[in-house]
């Protein structure tokens, strides 16, 4: 489902391009932290694998066959950062070499197929393996669910993008039903294949499955006929933390871009109701919609109360919204990092492989 040129309008393609570039930049950083200078050959070979495995045909019934999309598989096997990188590189090369997916739609394609599938699949897989008992079977089940959800999630994201920046006003309800309906079917196939493949890799090289590294059974030694835990290997010296300034640059650039987009661009953005609201108004089913609980808040309907000029008010609301999101997001991130620093040893052990 590579999106061609002309499907999504130019401004939203640009926004999606910025999102995709940000995701790739973050992934480059993350992958380098995970793989060091092994990043280029390993990510390159995994990208080649994704490219090849997309050519592997799985017969469904007489005559028809499907193939793997690979987003969920890459996320589970090599981790979210390297996964996003590999899928993005595959999409880039498909766009430039095979004309598969438009060049201006590259941002949309990477956001939908690279970012959403990978992140959704990885988060689900990690969440499920944390809840389920630590066995190989539960890893397979988690891979199944992760892949099953990731494909319709990508379809829903595409529908969202289409609702905002689609070039034709197809009723969004119809698009959503069609897209998600078809992609649930595709997702089932993807889920079966992904689960079987992850199971096959775990059976042979469990250490290679990035998202299931915690699942390896601890080494036991038989001493005098009794199984005892092997002494833990001496923890490797913690990898030196990378210097801060460059990360800070990325953060600052992203923040400024977000503020500019929210404040300045929304200043010029069209004030016409979005597609969904329009459909609702056309079909008349918005009459019963209750006022949103936050409708009385000072930021309701993306405008600041008591500011007369609607454009200025919209821009202000955007800036305030970005500020609030950044504050909440950094708070959560900070809290999570604090917790992670409290449980030290395991990450170092698995990272030293």
């Amino acid at each position: 489902m590579h999106v061609p040129d002309g499907f999504i309008d130019a401004p939203l393609s640009a926004v999606a391009g910025v999102v995709a570039a940000g995701a790739v930049a973050v992934s480059l950083r993350g992958a380098r932290r995970e793989l060091d200078e092994r990043t280029a050959p390993l990510a390159g070979l995994v990208a080649a694998f994704v490219f090849a495995v997309q050519m592997l045909n799985f017969p469904v019934a007489a005559g028809t066959s499907g193939h793997l999309l690979g987003g969920a598989l890459a996320a589970i096997l090599v981790g979210p950062y390297t996964g996003v990188l590999c899928i993005s590189v595959v999409l880039l090369m498909q766009g430039i070499l095979f004309a598969d997916g438009g060049l201006t739609a590259l941002g949309v394609n990477i956001t939908v197929m690279g970012l959403v599938t990978t992140v959704v699949a990885y988060v689900l897989f990690r969440g499920l393996t944390a809840v389920l008992p630590r066995t190989r079977r539960s890893a397979t089940v988690a891979a199944f669910v992760a892949a099953l959800v990731s494909v319709p999630a990508a379809a829903a994201t595409f529908t969202l993008i289409y609702a905002v920046g689609g070039t034709t006003d197809i009723p969004i309800g119809k698009v959503l039903t069609a897209m998600v309906g078809v992609h649930v079917l595709i997702g089932i196939g993807e889920a079966v294949i992904t689960a079987l493949t992850v199971g096959a890799v775990i059976a042979v090289r469990p250490d290679l499955v990035h998202a299931a590294r915690g699942l390896a059974a601890p080494l036991k030694l038989r001493v005098d006929g009794v199984l005892v835990d092997a002494p833990a290997a001496a923890p490797a010296p913690a990898a030196a933390r990378r210097a801060g300034p460059s990360t800070r640059n990325v953060w600052a650039t992203g923040l400024v871009a977000a503020f500019v987009l929210a404040g300045f661009v929304s200043f010029y953005a069209s004030a016409s109701p979005d597609g969904l609201e329009k459909v609702a108004a056309d079909k008349g089913f918005d009459a019963e919609v209750e006022e949103h609980a936050a409708a009385g808040s000072p930021l309701a309907d993306y405008g600041v109360e008591d500011v007369g000029d609607p454009r200025l008010s919209g821009g202000l609301a955007g800036v305030i919204g970005v500020g609030a999101t950044v504050a909440v997001g950094s708070g959560v991130f900070w809290a999570v990092r604090r917790r992670r620093q409290d449980e030290p040893a395991e990450a170092v052990l698995t990272g030293s492989r």
Partner: protein, 253 residues
């Protein structure tokens, strides 16, 4: 590996378009597609002019029309989607050949078809006149992160190797009497995919060790720096600038 890493989409020839530096061509194609996408769809004549522009470039690059048309087939799935549009989009209805279709739907279908086809045609011209190696160099010149370019070059370089492994596994399966008929055979195929992943990953580790033993420290030396003269930039810029002129005319007329 060998065989000069020429991909099958590349048509070897000597033409003014082949000789342009890759980053000029990439920038020109990207600018052209951007302009095409932002043209109003009501300016039908503008798209005809764009098609003439692309045809002129293809002629200058000595790409046969049949080759170009054959490569446009990649679009077919979205053509099917576009064909559906006039029937599902609500709005003013009109009669074509006795069938009632919607006017906004027709415009939408035309929009997707015209812009998508022009985009694919531009990419095809780029891919058939530029070698892989120089394409990657061009991306690097256009300030794509070097690590990303390295990953892409490894993917391109080993894509055929991994695909070859997959083919050999398939031959091995079939020579043992395996035949994939339906869902029941998925287990075997998925095991092959798993084995393929392990082989790819281990090959990546070996490649890395081989590189380290030859002095690799995380960056690749750039041996063949490509540069573009002002004349070459002007030559490559002709395509997007002409397109931009057409686009501006389309907006004003």
């Amino acid at each position: 590996m060998g065989a000069g890493h020429a991909h099958k989409l590349y048509r070897h020839a000597h033409s003014p378009v082949h000789d342009l530096p890759p980053h000029c061509k990439l920038a020109a194609v990207f600018g052209f597609v951007l302009v095409v996408v932002s043209t109003p769809r009501e300016a039908v004549w503008a798209f005809a002019l764009y098609a003439v522009l692309i045809a002129a470039v293809a002629a200058a690059a000595r790409i046969p029309a049949g080759f170009l048309l054959k490569r446009l087939v990649i679009e077919v799935p979205f053509v099917a989607f576009a064909v559906l549009m006039p029937f599902v989009v609500p709005g003013e209805q009109t009669e074509i050949l006795g069938v009632s279709v919607s006017v906004p739907g027709l415009w939408g279908a035309w929009n997707v078809l015209a812009k998508g086809t022009l985009g694919v045609a531009a990419s095809v011209v780029l891919a058939s006149t530029t070698e892989l190696r120089s394409l990657l160099l061009g991306l690097q010149r256009l300030r794509l992160p070097p690590l990303l370019v390295q990953i892409a070059s490894f993917m391109i370089r080993y894509g055929d190797v991994i695909a070859g492994e997959m083919r050999r596994m398939s031959i091995a399966r079939r020579s043992r009497g395996f035949e994939a008929r339906g869902v029941r055979q998925w287990g075997v195929l998925a095991k092959s995919a798993g084995a393929l992943f392990i082989r790819s990953y281990e090959r990546g580790e070996r490649v890395h060790l081989a590189m380290v033993s030859r002095g690799y420290t995380g960056t690749m030396p750039v041996i063949d720096e490509v540069t573009a003269s002002r004349a070459q930039w002007a030559y490559a810029g002709a395509l997007p600038l002409l397109a931009l002129a057409i686009c501006l005319l389309g907006w004003t007329l």
